[in-house]
Every structure is written in C-alpha cells, then in structure tokens.
C-alpha cells in the first residue's frame, strides 16, 4: 500500500517535470487575459446621515491600461467590471457628487487587490463628527446594546446547545438557519409585499420547517448510518458553505432593510437611547426565551428533552421516544434561530452572511455557558453580548476588534473551565 503511494508521487512528479521541462512550444494558446473570467470591484456610497448617494461615477484603472467606470444606483451601490485578478486604483469623480455631500477622505484609493471575484471598496464621505460623552454614559448605552445583542443571539444559542445536548452534533450550519429566517422574511415582506409582522410570523414558521427538513432529510439518516460525530461536524461545515453561497446567489451581497421600521428615531432614557424597534426586539426575545425556559422546566416534554440531553440510552430505555424529542428540538431550535435572524435583521439589516458572522460568537456563548445546557447558553449569550460591547471602552480597543475580544475570551474559558459556567464537570480533555 505504502509503496504504491510512493510510485504515484514519483509518477506525478515525473509527469509534472515532463510537462514543465520537456514539451516544445507550440504557439497556440490563443486565449489571453481578456478571456479570463471577470472580477468585480464594488462599493456603497452613503453620506454622513447614512443615506445612499446615487449618480456618482467611480473609475477603476490598472497599470496595464485597463480603465472601467461605474455609476452608483438608487441604493448608492456601484460596480466596475475588471478583467480579473490584479491591482487596481479606484477613483471617485468628485465632480459628480451631489451638492452638500462632502468629498471622500481618501481619493483615489490605490493598491486595490482583486484576487477572487468581488472586491468591495468603501469611500468615507466626509469626516464623522465625534460626540463626546462621559465614560459612564457610554458604558450604560453599550450595556443596553450588549444586552440586546446577547438576547438576540441567545435565541440561536439555545437551539444550538440543545441540538448538541440531544444528538452530540456540533452544528456549524446553525448560522445559516439564522440567515434563512432573515432572508425568507425579507423575501415575503419586500418581494411579495406581505406586511412585516405577518411575514415575520411566517418566517419563524418556515424556519421551523427548515429545521424539520434539516433533521429528517440529512441528520436522521446520518444518525441511522451511525456516522461518527466528527464526520457529521464536517458535513455541517459543507452544508454551511453551500447554503451561504446559495443565499448569496439569490439575495446578492448587499445589506438590505425590511420594508417596515427601517429608520426610527431613538428614544432617550437618561443616558441611554434606544429605538422602539430595538425595545420591541429585546422584549420579544426575552419573552420567547422565558417561555422556552419554562417549557423545558415545567412540561413533560421539556423533562423528556432534558433526559435525552443527559443520557439518550437511559432516556430511551425509560420509554422516551428519543427520535421524536430530537425532531422537536430541531424544529423549535430552528424556529428560535430564525426569529433571532429576523430580530437581528430588524436592528441591523439583512445580508447573506448575517448568521455566519454571529456563529462564532454563538459558539463562544454556548461554550462559556456550558455546551449542551439551555440555560448556560442563555447566560453565556448575555455575557458575550455585554463583553463585546463594553470591551470597546478599553483604551486602544476599536469596535472592529470587539469580536476578537470575545473569541479570545472563548479560548481563555476553555483553558480555565472547559465545561463552562453551568456545565457539568466531565472529561473534555
């Protein structure tokens, strides 16, 4: 067996060397650079108030003499098709900016490297004025925002944790259920014109159905085949990659708002300012999480779920239908994750990587609280939400690095207390 692989390597190396060194040149490769698949340089233009700026020309040039131009549309989006991988200079034509919009802080932008298909370039139009507030006021505002984010990711974390508890699967495609909820609601609401509240309810139901399909079509057959847990984990990664790109194909790369509650003025309460939709999102998340918690603690089915989480074999032998419990956990877990996606889409916007971007934070939350425990997931989520927002108060910490803090926290927790805050002490090493 081993000898066989070596012969193969030698054969391959010899073939390569043969191709590289031996063949004579026959001038026939007619297709040069212009037949290469095209790349795309794109971006969004927004003024300081966040409104899109249409009708602005943007040019991309390279040193080989290529030059392409694009104009921003109603949503402020512009794109320039480029011949493929290379380094480009992107320049905004300041003449075409509407009156009252400040010139970009940096123009042109040099050394834009296009390697894949699409490269996003952002111009900052005008200097943002920084308002100075006291540290305490900032801390109060950041805590409330952290609580909001924590409650929203808790919706997804509970499902992820229960699925892990009942089936042992670390589901890397859970983020895509979040995205599914947001994207399907956006489609119902904006494309089909269904009122937002109704669309959101349908979105939650469809997310539950998506969880049903996930379990019945994929995970149940895999459990039947007794596929190993690591194999299932890698399958979930493949699923995540495929779904993410399916969303990208159908939804496009842009962030889009729902058709309702798009812009709202914040309501001031002492040092804290919150929009009504933020408050609604927090209230809904808190109520749903409380109901889920009560269901787990008080109902027969909740007891059965916890029993399966604890020890599936023992639960089965005491007459619990384990497969049914797992199916319900999938449906409810997916519906909760879908709701989380809708609420996140409401407070930010909807985009195809919505779930994928929060997945690692959700893992951090679930691990922090203790993998497999529903209440641990809740506590962990809120701690992660608070931590990432409050960490921006540390001098030298910028908002773009706040997720780095949470992921480092995850690593530290695993070193100190790998079973998490509420997890049972068992061997994880």
């Amino acid at each position: 067996m081993v000898h066989w692989s070596v012969t193969r390597i030698v054969a391959l190396v010899v073939t390569c060397v043969g191709i590289l060194g031996g063949a004579t040149a026959l001038a026939s490769a007619a297709h040069a650079a212009e037949d290469q698949p095209a790349g795309l340089v794109q971006g969004f233009l927004r003024d300081l108030a966040g409104n899109p700026v249409p009708g602005v020309d943007v040019t991309a040039t390279d040193t080989a003499g290529f030059s392409g131009i694009g104009t921003s549309d109603e949503a402020g989006r512009w794109e320039v098709k480029v011949p493929g991988a290379g380094t480009y200079t992107v320049e905004l034509d300041e003449e075409t900016l509407p009156d009252g919009v400040a010139a970009p802080t940096k123009n042109p932008i040099d050394n834009v490297v296009v390697t894949g298909s699409t490269r996003t370039v952002l111009f900052t139009l005008g200097e943002r004025e920084r308002t100075l507030t006291s540290k305490w006021d900032q801390a109060a505002q950041l805590s409330v925002e952290g609580l909001r984010f924590g409650l929203i990711i808790a919706l997804a974390a509970v499902g992820l944790s229960l699925i892990y508890g009942t089936t042992g699967l670390t589901n890397f495609a859970h983020g895509e259920i979040i995205t599914f909820g947001a994207v399907i609601t956006w489609w119902l609401n904006v494309t089909l014109g269904i009122p937002f509240i109704l669309a959101a309810i349908l979105g939650v139901v469809l997310s539950g159905a998506f969880g049903f399909v996930n379990d019945q079509a994929l995970w149940k057959p895999l459990r039947k085949r007794q596929t190993g847990l690591i194999a299932m984990m890698i399958v979930s990664i493949g699923l995540a990659l495929a779904l993410q790109n399916i969303f990208l194909i159908f939804f496009g790369g842009a962030s889009r708002p729902f058709g309702a509650f798009e812009t709202q003025a914040g309501i001031e309460m002492g040092p804290v300012s919150l929009t009504p939709k933020d408050m609604a999102a927090m209230t809904i998340a808190a109520i749903v999480l409380t109901l889920a918690g009560l269901a787990l603690l008080k109902t027969r089915f909740g007891k059965a779920t916890r029993a399966v989480s604890d020890n599936p074999a023992l639960a089965a032998s005491s007459g619990i239908d384990v497969e049914r419990v797992i199916l319900v956990v999938w449906v409810v877990g997916a519906a909760l994750a879908g709701l989380g996606g809708i609420l996140q889409g409401l407070t930010q916007q909807v985009f195809p990587l919505l779930g994928a971007q929060s997945l690692l934070l959700i893992f951090a939350a679930v691990t922090l609280g203790g993998l497999g425990t529903a209440f641990g997931a809740l506590v962990g989520s809120i701690l992660v939400g608070l931590f990432i927002n409050l960490s921006t108060l540390i001098p030298g910490m910028t908002p773009e690095l706040k997720n780095v803090g949470a992921l480092l926290l995850l690593i530290v927790v695993l070193m100190v207390r790998p079973q998490g805050i509420l997890g049972r002490r068992s061997r994880v090493g």
């Binding site: 490297v113 493949g238 699923l239 495929a242």
Partner: protein, 329 residues
C-alpha cells in the same frame, strides 16, 4: 462554447501556482488530521501568518526577502504553539471551535484599520516577492507554451519551486509515517489513552504534529503571497480551510499521495466549473446568472462535494476506510 479552451484553462489551473499552494496546505493538514486525528479548522491562519510574516518584513520594514521567509516561518510556528498549548488537551469538537475562532481572530486583526500601518488593513500588502522572481533562471519573456498550455515565466518559476516543495514534503511525510514517531501519531488517532498508557507524552506528540503541519501549510502561504505578489486578508477566510479539507478528503486522508491527487483533481474541477459557467453566461446559454454569481456556484459545489464525500466516501479516492478517525472521543 470553446471546449478546448475550457479544458486547457482547467488543466493549467490544476497544475498552476494556486493548486501548489493548496496542495502544500493539504499536506500539512494530512499530518495533523489524517495521521494524528487533530481536527484543525484553522489552517487558513497558518497560511496567513506565513504570508503576512513575509510581507510585513519586506514591505513594511524593508528588510530582505530571506528575513521575510524566516520571520514568516517563525510566526507560523509561534501561532501553532500558541494555539496548541491551551487546546490540544481538549476534546476534538472543542479543538475545532477554538481553531476556527483563532483563524477568524487572525483575519480580523490583519484586516483591521488599527494595524493598517503595519499590516495594510483590508488592502493588504504588495510588492514583496520581487527578489524571488529575480532568482528565476528562466529568461525574461512573455511566457512559455507547452502544447496548448501557456504559463507566464513568473508562474512557471513559482510552480517549479512549489512542486519541488510538494515532492520534498511528501517524501518527509512518507518517511515520518513509517518511523516510530509516525506510528505513535497514528496510535494517538486510533486510541489516545492506549498510547498514554504506554508512557508516551501524547500532548507533546500532538504539538509536534500541529507545528510541523503548520510549517508545511506556511509554505503554501508563501506560494500564494509570492504568486500574487500581494497578501490580502480575505483570501484567508474560513472557506480556504474547508477547501483544503475537501482536497484532503477527496484525495484520501492518511495517504502520502492523497493531498497531491486531491489538489490536482480539485483544481481541475474548480476551474472547469468556473470557466464553463462563465463561458455559458457569456454565450447567453445561461441567462439567469451573471458572471459574478458563477464564483458562488463553485463554492456551493465545494460545500455539497464536501458533504457528499464525507457521507458516502470519507476515505476519498486513495484512503482506507478503517484508517480514518472520525469519532469524537
């Protein structure tokens, strides 16, 4: 539709510089995942640390190319050590979560505005590999044709060095896998506790496998950086790690030739789908897609391919099903 062009473009890509880089990363992953059973989901970070180590030294600090290569390798080894210390005692699924998180940390840090002066932010760093191309023995010119295949002199030079590294690392893997050291790694994959009961320091063996695999992947990072003469953060996203997994599982994990076969086949199929779709879109055979969406279709296929391989043929083309460690312990 020019099928001749589609075919030659796919073959060129399957032998070209990017395939070499993926192949090197897969050889490293083979040592970690295939032989030792370490579920490293952060391979992209090792490619990034090597590429950035080189680029920062040459472009930002204007030191020589060789200092860049040395620092790149040291950065990769340091990252592997840093990552391994807290996590190699953990169960497989925890290791997976931590490595994927660490890879994301590396990507977020290198693309941040805060370190833009040193690391170049989202634009990355350019023009650090000129010294490498000066060493090329190939004469200046527009490139060399081999039958219908055209490679630029620059890419050809990268390919010669790259495939030589592939041969070297495959030889090293082959020799290591047969050595007592390699048998301990396989033992750890099969039953960690049994190896521990024989008095072996399992933790330290895992660390060696992680670091050696990371170093090999680091050379893949050099090749990508040198080929583009640029590093930019978004190349090193998690999708890169999972493309490397697909390559390894396609070829066959725990087989010396697995990563090579996997990388060439993957490169061919990847580019074949890409060029066929763009040709079909350009020729208006497919009207419901535009040319930027073809890239996403490729990744849908990579994801679906990874799932199907894992479900129906986890041993890939060359592997032995009994030898694949796929159960969390």
């Amino acid at each position: 539709m020019d099928w001749g062009f589609i075919f030659t473009a796919s073959v060129s890509y399957a032998l070209g510089a990017l395939t070499v880089a993926y192949c090197l990363a897969a050889i490293g992953l083979n040592l970690q995942f295939g032989y030792t059973g370490l579920l490293n989901f952060g391979q992209a970070a090792f490619l990034a640390s090597a590429g950035y180590g080189m680029a920062v030294m040459v472009t930002t600090f204007e030191l020589s190319f060789w200092v860049g290569i040395t620092v790149g390798l040291l950065a990769t080894l340091a990252l592997a050590l840093l990552l391994g210390l807290p996590t190699l005692r953990l169960r497989a699924d925890y290791l997976a979560i931590v490595t994927i998180a660490a890879a994301e940390v590396v990507r977020l840090v290198v693309r941040s505005v805060k370190f833009k002066e040193t690391l170049g932010g989202s634009d990355g760093l350019q023009q650090f590999a000129n010294r490498f191309y000066e060493l090329s023995p190939l004469s200046d010119g527009f490139g060399i044709n081999f039958g219908p295949f055209l490679f630029s002199n620059q890419e050809l030079w990268v390919m010669i060095v790259g495939w030589s590294l592939v041969a070297l690392f495959s030889l090293i893997t082959f020799l290591l896998a047969r050595s007592p050291w390699g048998r301990i790694l396989k033992g750890i994959r099969e039953d960690e506790d049994a190896v521990r009961s024989l008095g072996k320091n399992v933790y330290w063996y895992k660390m060696q496998a992680l670091m050696l695999g990371a170093m090999m992947a680091g050379f893949g990072g050099f090749i990508i950086g040198i080929f583009f003469n640029a590093v930019s953060p978004d190349i090193y996203a998690t999708a890169l790690t999972f493309a490397i997994y697909t390559i390894l599982i396609l070829g066959g994990a725990a087989r010396v030739a697995g990563p090579i076969l996997g990388a060439i086949l993957f490169g061919f199929l990847f580019q074949f789908v890409n060029v066929t779709l763009s040709e079909a879109v350009n020729a208006d055979y497919i009207t419901f897609l535009d040319s930027s969406q073809t890239a996403q279709i490729r990744l849908v296929l990579v994801g679906a391919g990874l799932m199907l391989l894992m479900i129906y043929r986890p041993q890939g083309i060359l592997g032995d099903r009994r030898e694949i460690a796929l159960d969390a312990r």
